[in-house]
């Protein structure tokens, strides 16, 4: 089983986290799942959803329904979700995210991905990626601890992440929350966020 995170997805997630350093942020992973040996899950892009409380879930549902339509238009699948907690020390999976990610998993009939952002790595800003990757095997298990599971983040994404912080282009990323304030912002494509 191989999981691959594209440069585009990595940078969008990274920018989303950096833009809202004191908030929790949540988003959706889009890509393709291919069977075979080894089976592959390619995360091609990410759609930032929220930087406010996700507890109020009707918003999440509306966002998901629109993402679904977007996926059909672009022949993509919802592969999983990502979430960063508000507090640096807190690396738990919040209950709502747990339910939400499980829901995505059953829709995909397994092999979905939950990326929790490791806030400490985000602060450290070194050469490692910022994820704690989980897959659902009865409960959420850290992906790297499972034999025959590989998790790859495109190297160039990690390299470029420092650049988008320096030149300020991370500020161009928009999520569904900002879209609700100003619907001229394209949260689905994030065209203005060029890397």
């Amino acid at each position: 089983m191989e999981y691959h995170i594209s440069k585009e997805a990595y940078l969008k997630i990274y920018a989303h986290c950096v833009k809202y350093p004191v908030n929790q942020v949540t988003g959706i992973l889009l890509g393709k799942k291919t069977e075979g040996s080894p089976s592959k899950v390619n995360v091609i892009t990410a759609i930032p959803v929220s930087h406010e409380s996700v507890l109020l879930s009707n918003k999440l549902e509306i966002a998901l329904r629109q993402i679904d339509i977007y996926c059909k238009k672009n022949t993509l699948q919802i592969i999983g979700c990502y979430h960063a907690n508000e507090l640096v020390e807190n690396d738990e999976i919040p209950e709502l995210i747990n339910l939400f990610a499980k829901n995505i998993d059953s829709n995909l009939s397994g092999q979905s991905l939950l990326l929790m952002i490791d806030n400490k790595k985000l602060i450290a800003n070194d050469d490692q990626h910022i994820f704690k990757a989980y897959v659902l095997q009865k409960s959420w298990k850290i992906l790297q601890t499972i034999t025959n599971y590989v998790f790859i983040v495109e190297e160039e994404g990690i390299n470029k992440s420092k650049e988008i912080v320096k030149n300020g282009s991370y500020a161009n990323i928009v999520d569904f929350d900002s879209h609700l304030e100003d619907i001229s912002l394209d949260w689905l494509n994030n065209d203005k966020f060029v890397v």
């Binding site: 409380s53 109020l56 009707n58 629109q66 879209h179 001229s184 949260w187």
Partner: protein, 255 residues
């Protein structure tokens, strides 16, 4: 960042020529800005200027800054100690009370933060909207939606013209499945701010749900519900005319 750019040359170059009160106000802002950008050593350097000025006299304001430096370093326990000590001397210092609450939130002591906030709102101004909103957020994190709703009722009473409060209340009602009330509050939001996208989505969402639910769970007629759905769809379609997401949303509205 902007604060640093503007305040630093003032403090470095023209410190003595600034007005006596003004310069310390700028200095305080500069120190806080450095804490925000995690440049703690610089904050400490500038704090020394203040310390030199007031020598051994007690100042809650200075103590607050010391506490904030400990917070920035991640020494939450130490910061809590400083704030508690300060409050022993200066019991009614609002800013220090607020810091104490904030540090408890940062430290993950949500229950303690809720206690302190409740006490704060009892003792001080009960019209402190930010404090109520913060308390509501904490309750939501604890999944105590009823209490959160109560907090929002308080801010609506304080400031009945702010549409965002009605919106928040509706969201919470939606969360606990009281779609009928939620719908009413979304409508009120729209009444006060007639192109509010969140309210329109809210009206659409709650009424689509109400349409499917049993008669005893709703107090409005199906005609009204349908009319509200149509209104929301129509408005959304109109507002999305120039949006880059128009195509997706149009399809969404057909569902």
């Amino acid at each position: 960042m902007d604060v640093i750019e503007l305040a630093k040359p003032l403090i470095d170059g023209k410190f003595s020529s600034l007005d006596n009160i003004e310069r310390y106000e700028i200095l305080e802002q500069l120190i806080v800005a450095y804490l925000d950008t995690n440049e703690i050593d610089k904050a400490e350097k500038y704090l020394k200027l203040v310390k030199d000025k007031i020598k051994d006299e007690f100042s809650s304001r200075l103590q607050k800054l010391y506490g904030m430096i400990e917070e920035a370093k991640g020494n939450y326990e130490k910061a809590i100690e400083i704030y508690n000590e300060t409050l022993k001397v200066d019991e009614v210092n609002e800013a220090v009370h607020k810091r104490l609450i904030a540090v408890n939130i940062a430290n993950g002591n949500r229950t303690e933060a809720i206690n302190l906030l409740n006490k704060y709102l009892e003792v001080f101004v009960s019209g402190d909207e930010d404090a109520w909103l913060q308390l509501a957020d904490l309750y939501l994190l604890e999944n105590q939606c009823q209490q959160a709703a109560y907090c929002i009722e308080e801010v609506i009473l304080t400031n009945p013209k702010n549409h965002l409060y009605y919106l928040r209340y509706a969201d919470i009602m939606c969360c606990i499945g009281r779609y009928q009330i939620a719908s009413k509050y979304y409508c009120k939001t729209l009444d006060l701010c007639n192109d509010n996208i969140r309210a329109l989505y809210g009206i659409l969402y709650t009424n689509q749900y109400l349409l499917k639910s049993k008669a005893e769970d709703k107090s409005t007629s199906d005609e009204t519900i349908k009319a509200l759905i149509d209104l929301a769809k129509e408005q959304l379609a109109k507002l999305y005319k120039k949006s880059p997401c128009e195509e997706v949303v149009n399809e969404f509205l057909k569902q």
